[in-house]
Amino acid sequence: PITQVDLDSLEDKPWRKPGADITDYFNYGFDEFSWTTYCLRQDKLRDEYDTNKLRTQMMQ
């Protein structure tokens, strides 16, 4: 299942509208900047994990 939505893929950013409550959209105190940082770090962790897994498989 999709657990992370890429902000760049969204044309409409309703939380930017005046009067919008950002916590209706973002949990854990995230905003656009911190959510993007978090997603990048998650990807990095996954990439490192995948690379290590691949390396182990290749050495067998």
Partner: protein, 73 residues
């Protein structure tokens, strides 16, 4: 007209239970409404906001919704 309103609906919903946990359980004077949390919001972000059919529970740092930690009284 007002006579047809379910008396239960006049009891305000419990803010702790809305966050996820209320230690008073069945003894709570407020209403505990069982609901479903949004998976995307649980992961951190849901683009639907208020339009989402599932709940985006609001968080606030409150001792009362914590299960007691080590050394705490």
């Amino acid at each position: 007209l007002y006579l047809h309103i379910d008396p239960q609906s006049r009891i305000p919903p419990c803010p702790n239970y809305e966050r996820g946990f209320c230690r008073l359980g069945p003894d709570c004077p407020k209403r505990h409404v069982r609901r479903t949390m949004c998976e995307l919001y649980l992961s951190g972000f849901c683009p639907k906001g208020r339009e989402c059919p599932n709940v985006h529970p609001k968080w606030s740092y409150t001792e009362s919704i914590r299960i007691r930690a080590k050394g705490e009284k």
